[in-house]
């Protein structure tokens, strides 16, 4: 593939291993060649490396296959998914899931990514709706500096939310940035 297809979350194959782009920077002096500076994470070992491509170069896309599965439950070490057609269950280690664990709700339909038949990660929907399980009541007043407060959602994830959000309310979160998007009214 052409390097112009590189972006965050792109899947790249290097030396026979699948990598996902976790950080990406396009750098270009006005009259010079563009450089695509990537931080790549090995989808199997979790090792991180830096790699810079020059504009015009090509890279190998990792052949990562996606299968629809439902997230069932998790413990500290394993996340269990179910193939909704065969009812087969699959355990994926927490290392592989990584930070995506913050957005996995029970019974969430998601895509599990496979490289050579080995689970290497999940592909989440771009937004999830979660319930705020804990947050301080918003205190009006110092709005010049304090426009947000911390809230915990049902997965234990902590996110900055506007002051008007109350415990028990549902909020939409962008899974790509981890940021609050909006309140959701049932």
């Amino acid at each position: 593939m052409d390097v112009s297809d590189l972006k965050k979350n792109a899947k790249v194959e290097l030396d026979g291993h699948p990598y996902v782009v976790v950080d990406f920077q396009f750098v270009k002096p006005g009259k010079g060649q563009g450089l695509y500076k990537c931080k790549l994470k090995n989808m199997i070992t979790g090792a991180v490396l830096d790699r810079t491509w020059r504009s015009g170069e090509k890279f190998d896309a990792a052949n990562v296959e996606s299968r629809k599965m439902q997230f069932l439950f998790a413990n500290d070490e394993q996340f269990t998914f179910m193939d909704t057609e065969t009812y087969d269950q699959l355990e994926v280690s927490a290392d592989i899931i990584g930070d995506d664990r913050h957005f996995l709700l029970d019974n969430l339909d998601t895509d599990v990514l496979f490289y050579n038949d080995r689970a290497v990660g999940v592909s989440l929907p771009s937004h999830v709706v979660m319930e705020v399980t804990e947050t301080e009541p918003g205190v009006k007043g110092d709005t010049a500096t304090n426009t947000t407060k911390s809230a915990t959602v049902q997965t234990g994830y902590q996110v900055q939310v506007p002051l008007f959000i109350k415990q028990g309310e549902k909020i939409k979160i962008d899974t790509r940035t981890g940021d609050y998007v909006e309140r959701v009214n049932d």
Partner: protein, 341 residues
Amino acid sequence: MTLSLSDRVGLWDAALAAMRVSFRGRGLREVQTPTRVEAPAIEPFIEPIAAPPGFLATSPELWMKRLRCHGGGDMFQIAPVFRQGEIGDLHREEFRLLEWYRDGDGIQAITDDVERIVGAVFEAARPWVQRPVQAPERWRRVRFLDWLRDVLGLTLLGNESAADLVEAVGAVQPSLCEGLVDWGTAQPPADVARLHAWTAFFSNVCDQHLDRWLAERAGQGEGVHLEAFPAPLCALARLDGQGLALRVESHVGGRELANGYVELRDDRVQRRRFETVNGLRMLVGSPRLPIDAEFLADLASPGLPPTVGCALGVDRLIMLAVGAETLDAVALAPAGVGGAL
């Protein structure tokens, strides 16, 4: 940092007004030239977007120079320009260039203009500043080859062939040689090879050293005018008596903001330069671009008066003026085509 949409509208309004006032005060008149053009300015690493039967302009340069050939005088424009594939925190495919051309034969007039415009826009943007901004308190002029020698210990003449450049640079810092001689099985003509090597070298220098040095200067309140570039780095500039290009790059807040030139007026040299650049484009697998025959004809007759010109990134200047770090933070619309606000 988050500016509301209304804030951003106010900011752009104030910044654009400040630019206009600044140029009108110096006698430059505002023009509007075609955005869809038959032939774009030909650059090694700038890709025009097709708009049949022509292209979207990557810069208003050729049209503005043509206007000057026909008596248009000193002029400026705030132009929409389009560059394929330039997407990142500091890049958008569609952005605005403040571009101006005036009578002159020295770089000083250009750098004076840049300093004045930067000052005016930083001043105008003050009501929207959300965090400390790095407004330049003073400006430093640096000659590129001198900088290479003083900061990197690399002594170059500025006209080295591709092979000589690789040898000289490799002896001092091999990492700067990445991608310099990447021709596959092609055997390019010497001038094309040299253009390619110097351009790749410059990109490496920026990425590995210059960007950081510029950021340090910005931290000390200094804007930087980088001038006297090696000829192989400048397709469209005149050369001085030492064979160095009369080109200046101005940097604010550690970011490249403007490119100025004493403009080339000789149509035959200009045609040769376009052809060399096309040669480089084909070497690296980019499409050959049509040469603007009308532009060359106007350069030949009636001819371009002695001209200095500059292009400045409007989006970037506005970003820097409020202390933001991405173009998105000050943009009025998402990058790309369409999208939600």
